[in-house]
Amino acid sequence: MKNQAYPFYFASGALLLYGVFFVLPSLLGFAYAFTDWNSYTTDVHWIGFDNFITIFTSTKGYLRYLQNTVVFTVATIVLKTVIALGLALLLTHGVRRLANLYRLLMYLPAVLPMLVVSLVFASILDPATGLLNTSLRAVGLDLLALRWLTDIQLALPSVIGVDVWRGVGYIMVILIAGLQAIPKDYYEAAEIDGASGWTVFTHITLPMLMPVLTVTTVLNLLYGLKVFDIVYVLTNGGPGRVTETVYTAIFQDFSKGRYGLATALSSLLFVVMVTLGYYTIRLMHREDVS
C-alpha cells in the first residue's frame, strides 16, 4: 500500500459520488425487485420472490428473452472478435497501401447512431423492396432473397449481422492498437528461428494480444447483454416475440407500469452481467498467465 503514488483519500470524492449516484440506486433497485411496485397504486407491498418466480415460471417467455440475449451476446462476441482480428492483422501486417483509409472506412459504421443504422437496415432488408433482395433478384439469386427480418428463423441472425457490421470496426481499431504495441523483436527472432506464420500468430501475436482481447470481450459482453436499440428499431421484438431480449422486455414492463417486475428483471441481468464479466476477466487473465 505504501508504494501507492497517491493516498487513498484522493479517491474519496469520486467514490462518494459513485456510491450515492450508482451503488445506492442499484441497491434500492434490488429492494424494489421484491415488491409489487406498479403505476396503478401508490401502495408498495413486499412480495418476496414472486417477481423472480414469475420470470422463471410464467408463460410470458422471459426465459426465451434471456436465451435470445445470451445467443445475441455470444454470437456478436465471437463474430466481432474473429472478423475484427482478421481485419486488424490484414491492415497491420498485410495491406500497406492506403491502410489508414481502409481503417477509417471500417470504423465509419461505429460513428453512426444505432437508430440510423437500424432504420437504414430495416429498409435494406425489406423482403419486397429492400436493396439486398432487389440486388439478389437482379443477379438471378432469387433463392437467396429471403424474409430477413420477418422469418422466425432468420430474424435474430439478421439483427446479429447488422450489429456485427456496425461494431466490428470499433473492435478492429482497439485490436490494431494492441497489435502495434507488440515489440517487433519477437517477430524478428521468430523469423530467424524459421517459425511459420501460424506459429507466430499462436505463440506471439495471440498471447501478447490477450490483455486487449480481454478488454474487447468484456466490452462486447456487457454491450450484448444490454442490447436494446437495434432490436427495438429493426424488429421491435418480432415477428411475434422471437427477437425479444431482456432489455426490450424490461422496457415493455416498465412502460406498462409493472415497475417491480421490470426491476426484478433488471436486477437479474445485473447479477448475470457482473458474474459473467468477473469470470471472463479471470479466465482470460489465467490463460494470459499460463
Binding site: 403505476s39 424474409r147 427495438y232 418480432g238
Partner: protein
C-alpha cells in the same frame, strides 16, 4: 521552442476557463426584455412625486410552446393548418411530436409514469384505457364544463369520460374513420365474377379465386403491430349476436374468451386466412401507410380499412377511382353487422403541464364549429365528425354500406374491459400464432390472462 508553446497553451486554456466561468448572456436572437419604465410618455410633464409611478408596459411574456405527442395518423394536415392559425391569433406555438404507431403506447406510458408527458397527449378513448393506460384521474385535466362538451356526440363523450368527469376531446369521425371493414376492389370482383360474400365460406372461396388469378386477395399490414388485431374485436357485434350478453358476462368475470366457441371460430378462421396465403408473401413487412398505394395498384383486391380509405386513396393516387371500391363487414364467424365503434383517438391535457390554460384554449379553438367544419372538409379520411351542427360529406358507397348493414352493438375493444389496453400484445400473439408458436386457443387464453392481471391491478370487484 517548447516553452513558448507551453506558455501559449496555458494562456489559451486560462482564457477558455475564464470564458466558460463567465455568467451566461441572453442569446442575441432573444427579444430584449422591456424595462418597466417610471417615466411619463411625455417628457415635458413631470410625474407626481407623491403617487407611485405606474409601469407603462408590462414585462414581455415568454412565448408559449405547447408540446403535443400523438401516434402516427392521428394528426391530420388540416389540424396542422389550424395550429398555424391558432399561433397567428394567440402567439402560442404547437410543437407536434408524432410517434410511430407500434411504439406510441409504450412511449406514452413511459413518459406518463416518469412524469414527463407533453402538455397535450393523444390517446385512444374508452373507459379501461382512461383508467388503466393513462390514469386520467391523476394525469389528465378535468374538462367537464367546457363549452364544446355540449356539442360532442354523447357516445363519444361517454368514451372520454370516467366517473362522471370528461377528460378528453375526441375530434374524430366515429363512423367513417372508425368502421374498419373489408374494402374491396369492385373491378377485380366483377372481372372474376365474384359477389360480395355473406359468410366466411364465401369469403374464403373468393380469396382462393383471387389468389388463383395472380392477385393478392388481402393487403394486411402486420408490421405496424396493430392493424391485424382489428380482425378480431371488430367482429364483436357478431359475438354478441350469437351469444347475447357475452360482453357483460366477460366484464362481470363470469366467462372467458377461451370459453367462447364463436371467438375461437373467428380466431381459427383468421389463422386459416394467413396460412392459406390470403395476405400475400410480404404481409409481415407490409406497412399500414402503404394501404392507399396497395389498393390503387390493383395488385391487392381487399384490405381491412375505413369507409374513407378509397377517398384517401384517390387523393393520393388520382389515377385510382374511389367509386371503384365497395365495402362489407369483416366476415369472420359469418359476421354481417356494422362495427359501431364510438371510441377513437382523443386529446388529453397533461395534469402536470405548466400551460394548462393555453392547452384548454387550443382545444376550445379546435372545436369552434367553423374550425371543425374546416377539419372535416379538408381531411379525406373524415366524412363526419363526432360533433353536432356540422355538414357531413358521405359518398354513395359509404351511404350504401350504412343502409345495407345493421348497427346492433358496439365492437369488443369498446364493449369489453381490458381488451384495448392489450391491443399490441394481442398483435404479437397473433403473429406468434401465424408463425406456428401458438394455437388460436392459446391466443384467447393469453387475452384472458392479461385481462385478469389488469383487473386485479385495477382492484376490479368482479375479480375479487
Amino acid at each position: 521552442m517548447k516553452k513558448p508553446f507551453k506558455a501559449l497553451s496555458a494562456a489559451v486554456l486560462a482564457s477558455l476557463l475564464l470564458i466558460s466561468c463567465a455568467a451566461p448572456q441572453a442569446p442575441a436572437t432573444q427579444p430584449p426584455a422591456v424595462e418597466p419604465t417610471t417615466a411619463s410618455a411625455d417628457p415635458t410633464t413631470v410625474a407626481e412625486p407623491t403617487t407611485a409611478p405606474e409601469p407603462t408596459s408590462a414585462p414581455v411574456a415568454e412565448p408559449v410552446t405547447l408540446t403535443y405527442m400523438a401516434s402516427q395518423d392521428w394528426i391530420k394536415d388540416a389540424e396542422l393548418e389550424l395550429a398555424k392559425k391558432f399561433e397567428a391569433e394567440t402567439g402560442i406555438h404547437i410543437d407536434y411530436q408524432i410517434i410511430p404507431a407500434d411504439q406510441y403506447f409504450a412511449l406514452l406510458k413511459t413518459k406518463l409514469n416518469a412524469g414527463e408527458a407533453t402538455d397535450i397527449f393523444g390517446g385512444q378513448s374508452g373507459k379501461t384505457d382512461l383508467k388503466l393506460q393513462y390514469d386520467v384521474e391523476n394525469n389528465a385535466v378535468d374538462l367537464t364544463g367546457e363549452e364544446w362538451t355540449t356539442r360532442m356526440d354523447p357516445n363519444a363523450l361517454d368514451q372520454v369520460s370516467l366517473n362522471g368527469k370528461v377528460y378528453g376531446a375526441e375530434i374524430w369521425d366515429i363512423v367513417a374513420s372508425n368502421y374498419f371493414i373489408m374494402t374491396y376492389n369492385k373491378v377485380i370482383f366483377a372481372d372474376l365474377g365474384l359477389e360480395v360474400p355473406t359468410s366466411y365460406a364465401e369469403f374464403k372461396a373468393a380469396c382462393d379465386t383471387i389468389k388463383g388469378a395472380g392477385i393478392v386477395p388481402i393487403f394486411e399490414p402486420i408490421s405496424d403491430g396493430w392493424h391485424h388485431v382489428l380482425w378480431f374485436p371488430m367482429v364483436g357485434p357478431r359475438y354478441e349476436e350469437v351469444t347475447p350478453g357475452l360482453a357483460a358476462q366477460l366484464n362481470a368475470n363470469e366467462t372467458t374468451f377461451a370459453e367462447s366457441e364463436i371467438m375461437l371460430t373467428a380466431m381459427t378462421q383468421l389463422n386459416e386466412l394467413y396460412q392459406s396465403g390470403c395476405f400475400g408473401d410480404n404481409t409481415l413487412s407490409d406497412a399500414y401507410a402503404d394501404t392507399s398505394k396497395a389498393l390503387a395498384s390493383g395488385e391487392y383486391a381487399m384490405s381491412v380499412a375505413t369507409l374513407t380509405a378509397p377517398v384517401s386513396m384517390a387523393t393520393d393516387f388520382p389515377e385510382a377511382k374511389a367509386e371503384d371500391f365497395g365495402f362489407f363487414p369483416i366476415p369472420l364467424a359469418d359476421n354481417q353487422l356494422a362495427p359501431a365503434h364510438p371510441a377513437g383517438p382523443s386529446k388529453f391535457i397533461y395534469a402536470k403541464s405548466p400551460h394548462i390554460e393555453e392547452a384548454k384554449q387550443y382545444l376550445a379553438f379546435l372545436m369552434e364549429p367553423e374550425n371543425l367544419q374546416y377539419l372535416l372538409d379538408n381531411t379525406p379520411q373524415f366524412a363526419s365528425l363526432s360533433f353536432s351542427g356540422l355538414t357531413p360529406k358521405w359518398t354513395a358507397e359509404q351511404q350504401e354500406f350504412m343502409n345495407t348493414y345493421e348497427v346492433k352493438t358496439i365492437v369488443y375493444q369498446d364493449a369489453v374491459n381490458y381488451v384495448n389496453p392489450q391491443w399490441m400484445d394481442i398483435g404479437k400473439d397473433m403473429v406468434t400464432m401465424f408463425t406456428g408458436g401458438m394455437t388460436p386457443a392459446d391466443v384467447l387464453a393469453a387475452i384472458d390472462q392479461r385481462r385478469e392481471e389488469m383487473a386485479l391491478t385495477a382492484l376490479d370487484p368482479a375479480w375479487k
